[in-house]
Each structure stands twice: as C-alpha cells, then as structure tokens.
Symmetry: C2
Subunit: 184 residues, 2 copies
C-alpha cells in the first residue's frame, strides 16, 4: 500500500487538503495528515480539522509521496518549516513523488526544486514562482506533471489534482474507478 504524507497548518485551504486525503484514501492509499504539533488546524475558511499525527513524529518514515496543500498562511508556514523541507528534499532525491497545489508550489520553488521543470500554481503566485525559480517553465494548466513533481492551481482543480496523484501511485485504472465513484 502506498503511503502519503500531507503536512498542513493554520490557514490551509480546506477543499485542497480534504480532496487529496479523501480521494487518495478512496483508492486505498494510506494517508497521514500531519500538523506541525499534532494539534487540530483551522483552515482559511474557518473549518477546524484534526491531525492524524505531529509532523516531527512521522516525517522520517518511508513515504511514497508528500503533498503540500495551499491556503495562507499554511503554504508559507510549510515553506519555512525545516521538517517539511527535509522530507520534500529527501523524497525528490529518492525519486519519490512530490506534489503541491495553489500557493504551495512556491515552497518547492523556494527550495530550488522547480528550476528546469514545468510547474503551475495559484494564478496570483505566478510572479513569485518565476522570481524564485527563474529556470522553471510556468504552465497555465489545471494540473502539471514533470517527472516526480505534480503541481496544480487551486480549490477548483483539487479533485483533478488528487485524481492525478491516484493515477501516479495506483495506476490509471484505479484513478478512473475513483473518478466514477465520486461522479467527477
């Protein structure tokens, strides 16, 4: 069974976070939703979501993928957190999957992981992406894949993003089955 880590913090975009967890779990993937301290997190729209774990307790485990949801200040908190950076860099080195949506691709750009790659983000983050990763290629598509990296735009693209992550981990047939199940 594939294992996916989803770190999240105050101001997380609820749809982006929960669509990823819900859709990956529907595909049989083990997902751990980890806040920095293990405490519940209140999202940008005021919904408080419980964490499965504290990030530092689980970050060093074996993961097949790490997914960074968007929403502010969540995306900035994740970007500036050493444990998030460490697990993202470790997975990239190991050629495991790294994914980010909305404002969170800016974290990957800040870590120097977007240069030389096709990427997208929330539209208003484009300038920041291009400044942080001048050698990246910014693409105006809902979901953009480049090798181990998957990026996406916002809450309205979160379901398509999550289905692409299922396809990556479990294959296209599994993603098609979940797509039918959720009537997408």
């Amino acid at each position: 069974m594939a294992r996916v880590l989803v770190p999240f913090a105050e101001g997380v975009e609820e749809i982006e976070c929960l669509a990823v967890v819900d859709i990956l779990r529907r595909a049989g993937v083990e997902v751990v939703l980890a806040s920095l301290d293990g405490q519940p997190v209140t999202g940008r729209s005021g919904v408080t979501i419980m964490a499965d774990a504290a990030l530092n307790d689980v970050a060093d485990e074996d993961w097949d993928m790490v997914v960074l949801p968007g929403g502010l200040p969540n995306a900035h908190i994740l970007r500036d957190n050493p444990a998030v950076r460490k697990v993202v860099e470790r997975l990239m080195r190991a050629r495991k999957s790294v994914a980010a949506i909305c404002a969170a691709p800016t974290a990957l750009a800040a870590y120097g992981l977007a240069d030389g790659r096709r990427v997208t983000s929330y539209p208003s983050c484009r300038e920041e992406m291009e400044k942080l990763a001048p050698a990246s290629v910014y693409v105006d598509e809902d979901v953009v894949e480049d090798d181990v990296l998957t990026t996406s735009r916002g809450p309205g693209t979160a379901i398509a993003f999550a289905l692409r992550l299922v396809a990556r981990l479990c294959g296209e047939a599994a993603a098609a089955a979940v797509r039918r199940e959720i009537v997408a």
Copy 2:
C-alpha cells in the same frame, strides 16, 4: 448576510461538506456547521472535523438555507433526526432554500418533499429516490434546481453545487467571482 445551516454526522463525505462551507464562506455567507451533539465528526474517509454548534442549539434560529451533505451513514442519520426534518420542513414552508447532495436527497424524498419536483442524487440512490418519491422527476445532471430545492450528485459535483448555492443566495455575479477565485 445570508445564514446557512449545514448539519453533519458520522460518515459525512468530507469534500461535499467542506466544499459547501468553504465556498459559501468565500461569498460572505454565514455558515454554521452543526453536528447533532456539537462534538467533532469523523467523515467517510476518516477525517475528523470540528462542529461550530450542536444542532438542537441552533436549529430553531432564522436560516436562509439548509444544506444536507452526503456520505453514509451521515445521510441516514440526518434523514432520521427529528431536528433535521423539522428545520427542512420549516424552511420549505417559508419558501427558503433547501439543498442536498449525494445520498442526502433521499432524506428530502423520505420527508415527501421531492414529489412533483425535478431532483437528482448519487447515481446508485436513484432507485431509492424513485421509490420514496414516485411523483418526482429524476434528472441525470450534476446540479438540479427546482424552485427552492437544489440537489446534486456526489463529491465530483460538490463545487458546482456550492457555486449554485452562492448564486441563489448572493446572485450570479458573486458566484462568478468565487468561481474565478477558486480557479473552477
């Protein structure tokens, strides 16, 4: 400011529930997410979400809309809860809005509120809908509106559903603005 009540219970579909709350709040609508006892609720995909209130403490307040999310057993628990039935029937009588998605339209059918109306639901609930509401007209569309009633199909249609609810409460321009904001 419009006020919307979203009752939810164990097994709620996380995307359906949170897309409604998130998107309505982005439009400036006051949304109260009410569990039956005010305690947190664990959804069908294992995410635990805090409640804003206990249903019995708020059900008798003035509401412009009540929205029933899907997921099981949530939809059955809501259907069988007297306070849910009472507030749904009160809003229908007052010609306020009532909305349901996925398995939750079966609650409206069970209350006798779907007869004579165009409705939809999660595809596998169609037979139950037609049995409970033989005088309803079942429609295979993502979001179906008939007078004060709005119904929808599943997680994959939850964002379109929520945007229609914004249009109903705040107007088409507001819905278009939120649609752009969420990149839908």
